[in-house]
């Protein structure tokens, strides 16, 4: 209460000079002159009016300052409260003027009542305009847009960082796979001719011996088989090792895709957040608030109880809207920046460049081609064929019993090799499928 009285006292302290919004003052002074009352009453009321209109100017300026404030604190209630304080000030100044008069006339009391009622009505209408709310809404939206622009920049950088990290790890995996392929293919390519050459030479020896009608002993045949086995085991072991690594790499590679999908899920979540954010804070809402404030002030300006009030109200409306327009312009710039940074990224249809940054389609297509380019499938199939036909060595010249024993021995070894080749073939298919199909899943996350 003390604070209120202090504000009133400060606002309506006598002797302050004011210049603007004087239509109502002229009108009131004129009405005072016409009213029936004693000279003493008239003089007292005139002095009170001078004091009041001085304070009113401060009130108006205070209200304009409230609207001009740029900080985030809500000012709508302050605007309403100030208008209320101004009304109380108007009433109390008039009341005090009559307090000093003994037995006031009905004319003086009537003037005081009507004037106080009109002024209270003026401030009541002013307190009801939505400019304070509009100012708060525009500044809140602008502040949030500015904040969100920074938030989204930060999130985008983090998303890209995570994505890049995963991509690099994936590329490394691909590279490792390629190395493994290179090694095993090279070794296989070297081993197969050796095995074929060994077999050809041994078969030739046996055939020559049998042509001399020398009977081939089982121990000789077994020695060939052992020799072949010694060569094959090295290759089989290499394939076993490679297949184990391939399996691990396939798993690792699959996990990277899962991680990649999580990154994209987060990206989509951010886009959803932005949708929610704009549902509350889209700039057209601020523009609507501005238009509503203008409309409510127009109503205020046209609803004055007197022409003087309406005239001053129109002036005050213009002054208030001028301050509000500054906030609108500033907020519009922030909104433009938000849009330019985020449209196609976090807001609106996804831009092709953004999509490419996240899923690197072209790059991954190259990897897929690269893996496919190895022609691993066909090589494995060819080697499989090699194994099935005893590496192309003609065994027909051997005596049947020799051929049968040799074939039986070799088949055991070759089947082990074929088994590993089969595993390798499956692993190769798996990796190719990961590169092609699961990548599509990743891309689907953004569709």
């Amino acid at each position: 209460m003390k604070t209120l009285l202090l504000i009133i006292a400060l606002l309506f302290a006598p002797g302050t000079a004011f210049a603007d919004w004087d239509a109502r003052k002229s009108e009131a002074m004129s009405e005072l002159e016409k009213a029936t009352m004693t000279d003493v009453e008239r003089a007292a009321l005139k002095k009170a009016l001078e004091t009041y209109f001085g304070g009113r100017e401060d009130c108006f300026e205070g209200l304009i300052e409230v609207i001009a404030k740029t900080d985030e604190s809500a000012q709508a209630a302050t605007f309403r409260d100030r208008a209320g304080v101004c009304a109380v000030g108007a009433n109390q100044v008039l009341s005090r003027a009559l307090d000093g008069i003994n037995d006031p006339t009905i004319g003086a009391l009537g003037f005081s009542t009507v004037f106080s009622t009109h002024e209270a009505s003026f401030y009541q209408s002013l307190a009801a305009v939505s400019i304070g709310d509009a100012r708060d809404q525009i500044i809140t939206i602008a502040t949030r847009l500015e904040d969100m622009t920074e938030v989204l920049d930060g999130k985008w950088q983090t998303l890209l960082g995570e994505d890049k990290s995963l991509d690099e790890r994936a590329k490394k995996e691909i590279e490792e796979i390629r190395k493994d392929y290179d090694t095993v293919l090279r070794e296989a390519a070297e081993a197969h001719p050796d095995m074929a050459e060994f077999l050809v030479a041994q078969v030739k020896k046996i055939v020559e011996s049998e042509l001399l009608d020398i009977k081939t002993g089982n121990d000789k045949i077994d020695a060939v088989i052992d020799g072949f086995k010694a060569l094959a085991v090295v290759l089989i072991t290499r394939w076993e090792q490679t297949n184990t690594r391939m399996g691990a790499r396939a798993n690792s590679y699959r996990a990277l895709f899962a991680s990649e999908i999580r990154v994209l899920v987060m990206f989509e979540d951010v886009r959803d957040d932005v949708k929610d954010f704009l549902a509350e804070n889209d700039w057209p809402k601020a523009e609507t608030a501005y238009a509503n404030a203008k409309s409510s002030l127009d109503s205020f300006a046209s609803s004055g109880k007197t022409s003087g009030q309406s005239s001053d109200a129109a002036e005050l409306r213009n002054d208030l809207m001028e301050k509000l327009a500054v906030h609108l312009k500033s907020g519009a710039d922030i909104y433009s920046k938000f849009v330019s940074k985020n449209r196609g990224r976090f807001e609106g249809a996804l831009g092709p460049d953004i999509k490419e940054q996240l899923i690197e389609h072209r790059e991954w297509e190259q990897y897929a081609n690269y893996i496919e380019g190895y022609g691993l499938d066909s090589k494995l199939r060819a080697w499989h064929q090699d194994g099935t036909n005893y590496f192309g060595v003609d065994l027909d010249d051997l005596k049947p019993e020799t051929r049968d024993r040799l074939k039986t021995g070799l088949r055991q070894i070759i089947e082990q090799l074929l088994k590993e080749l089969k595993v390798a073939e499956e692993a190769a298919k798996t990796i190719e499928k990961l590169v092609e199909d699961e990548r599509e899943d990743v891309e689907d996350e953004l569709n």
Binding site: M1, L4, G84, A87, V88, A90, N91, Q92, L94, S95, L98, D103, P104, T105, I106, G107, L109, G110, S112, T113, V114, S116, T117, E119, A120, S121, Y123, Q124, T140, R144, L145, D147, M148, E150, V151, G154, K155, Q157, T158, L159, E162, L166, A255, S259, R262, V263, V265, M266, D269, V270, D273, D276, F277, E280, N281
Partner: protein, 573 residues
């Protein structure tokens, strides 16, 4: 003696009907001990009322006392009634100057002069026109000659057979001065005493009870109609001062437990409930740190698991464009995020709101959350950079170290905080509508006071001020200070939580039109009404009304141009 006493009471009602006087009494009250004067009167004491046009009701004379031997004792006439006419002749404001000058109106000092001119005589039946709270009716009584009474030994007495006027009978004062003072005090009390005077009823009751021995002595020593009526009057005053006992239950006083007491109970309940909540979920609780990496980690392994987050304060909140999140963790150990707009957290916030309504408006802003890891990765901006973490759905929360809420408790609409079910309901206050009666406005005001709704309380006071100069002259100021200021609020709250146990509206007066809107162009129409309330205190005899300087018994409400009723007094309770 008992029979004599009972007979005396009966005969006091029809004192002049000699046939009723029992034989025993006749022996004591002999006609020769009573001297009749020539003058006659109604035996009433009155004061002028409604002298101004705008006053409520017709012009007349309010009964302030009925003499013990008045011919209107035992009739329907009551102290406080307004006599507006005699035998069909109404009193008017036009003749008030003459009436006052001569003092000849009924109950005035020279009433007998009126009867001299109008054929008044002992035993004449007269009819008074009476106005009481807007209703008018007739009361018929008897004129009686003014009397002098004597004792058997011819001493002047207050009634037939005594007591003697100048005797003290061992008391401090003579009977005549004691009785004059008694009548003065009794008249003050019975003539709307609490409305018209500042009276502390408990002090006055104590003083009255101190007079009981004298009343008992009067009855014992001077039995008769005087003693009987004196006892009746004493009892009437006693009943008014004591008031009607009220029944106030613990539930009625539940509003007093709002605040510290309830808060302490709920805090205890919160601790117990939290412990039980955690114990029931022990097998699913995991150490929250180090947090599983939301991108590379085995999120499936922790999905659905429960973590107990540390108490989080304002520093742990982040805002992304106005959307709040609670953040737990750091770059080393990983992060967890709680979305403040997630349905589960909203249930916590609603529980907080109810706590502030039903327990205490003060609640700390720390959140000790228990949450379930959803498995969803989340990306949040911490001010300088964005980090990834795991989203947590709140399943339980201790707020402000004072309230625990099991999010899954309650129903679809709301989760209950621990101990909520033990709280007796304290009714909220709805703002009275535009057509609310003065009584309803007052009830809302006191209800708001009880539950601590200062905004509502303040809104029921009039913002306007009517400066009344009389004679239809006034100035009206629509924008004045709010009557219900902060100091009034503090004082009123202190009283409603201390000595005032309840406030009841006991009477709503008649609407008085203060201004008619025709006094000058633009004048408002202002109505006024008085509402009388009783403040209930706790006394050895029970919950009883009390009055005093701390509390306002009669409240003034006004309305402007038919608008809502608002309180214009500045006292808080």
């Amino acid at each position: 003696m008992g029979r004599v006493f009972r007979s005396s009471i009966l005969c006091a009602l029809v004192f002049l009907v000699a046939a009723c006087i029992p034989a025993q009494l006749k022996k004591l009250v002999t006609p020769d001990k009573t001297k009749l004067q020539d003058s006659v009167s109604s035996g009433l004491e009155t004061t002028e009322e409604a002298s101004e046009e705008r006053d409520i009701g017709p012009y007349g004379y309010r009964v302030t006392w009925i003499n013990w031997d008045s011919g209107f004792r035992g009739t329907d006439l009551r102290i406080g009634d307004r006599i507006t006419g005699v035998d069909g002749h109404p009193y008017t404001r036009e003749e008030r100057k003459e009436l006052l000058a001569h003092g000849s109106a009924i109950g005035n000092y020279a009433e007998s002069t009126y009867w001299e001119k109008h054929g008044g005589r002992e035993g004449k039946r007269i009819t008074l026109q009476v106005w009481r709270k807007g209703k008018t009716f007739d009361v018929t009584g008897t004129l009686r000659a003014d009397r002098f009474y004597y004792t058997r030994d011819d001493k002047q007495a207050l009634g037939p057979g005594g007591p003697p006027r100048m005797e003290r009978d061992g008391f401090d004062a003579a009977w005549t001065s004691w009785y004059d003072r008694f009548v003065f005090e009794a008249s003050k009390i019975l003539d709307g005493g609490f409305r018209r005077h500042s009276i502390n009823n408990r002090v006055a009751l104590e003083a009255l009870l101190a007079e009981k021995p004298r009343i008992d002595h009067l009855l014992a020593s001077y039995p008769g109609p005087f003693a009987d009526t004196a006892k009746q009057d004493w009892q009437a005053v006693h009943d008014v001062l004591l008031g009607t006992e009220r029944t106030i239950t613990e539930s009625d006083l539940e509003y007093r437990r709002l605040g510290e007491q309830r808060a302490a109970e709920i805090k205890t309940a919160a601790g117990t409930a939290r412990e039980a909540f955690l114990a029931a979920r022990k097998k699913d609780i995991i150490e929250m740190f180090p947090a599983v990496d939301p991108i590379d980690g085995d999120v499936e392994k922790v999905k659905g698991k429960i973590i107990v987050l540390p108490a989080m304060t304002n520093r742990d909140w982040i805002s992304e464009g106005g959307h709040g999140y609670l953040v737990a963790g750091d770059g080393q150990r990983g992060f967890y995020f709680v979305d403040s707009r997630a349905p589960a957290f909203v249930r916590v916030l609603y529980a907080e709101y109810r706590y502030k309504q039903q327990v205490s408006p003060t609640l700390g802003n720390t959140y000790a959350l228990i949450g379930r890891i959803t498995g969803a990765p989340s990306l949040r901006y911490l001010g300088d950079y964005a980090v990834t973490g795991l989203e947590v759905e709140v399943i339980g929360a201790t707020v402000g170290d004072a309230m625990f809420v099991d999010v899954g408790s309650g129903d679809e609409k709301e989760a209950r905080f621990a101990g909520q079910e033990t709280l007796a309901k304290v009714g909220g206050v709805k703002p009275p509508g535009a057509r609310a009666t003065p009584t309803q406005v007052m009830e809302a005001m006191f209800a708001a006071l009880k539950i601590g709704d200062q905004e509502m309380w303040g809104s029921l006071f009039a913002p306007w001020y009517l400066s009344d100069y009389g004679g239809g002259r006034f100035a009206y100021y629509p924008a004045w200070n709010q009557a219900g200021g902060p100091n009034d609020w503090i004082r009123a709250r202190r009283l409603i939580l201390d000595t005032v146990y309840d406030v009841e509206i006991v009477d709503e007066g008649i609407v008085q039109r203060l201004t008619h809107g025709t006094e000058f162009k633009g004048a408002p129409v202002i109505d006024q009404v008085l509402v009388e309330v009783e403040h209930i205190g706790k006394f050895p005899e029970g919950y009883l009304p009390f009055t005093g300087v701390d509390v306002r018994r009669v409240w003034t409400l006004q309305r402007v141009d038919g608008g809502p009723w608002r309180i214009t007094d500045q006292r808080g309770i």
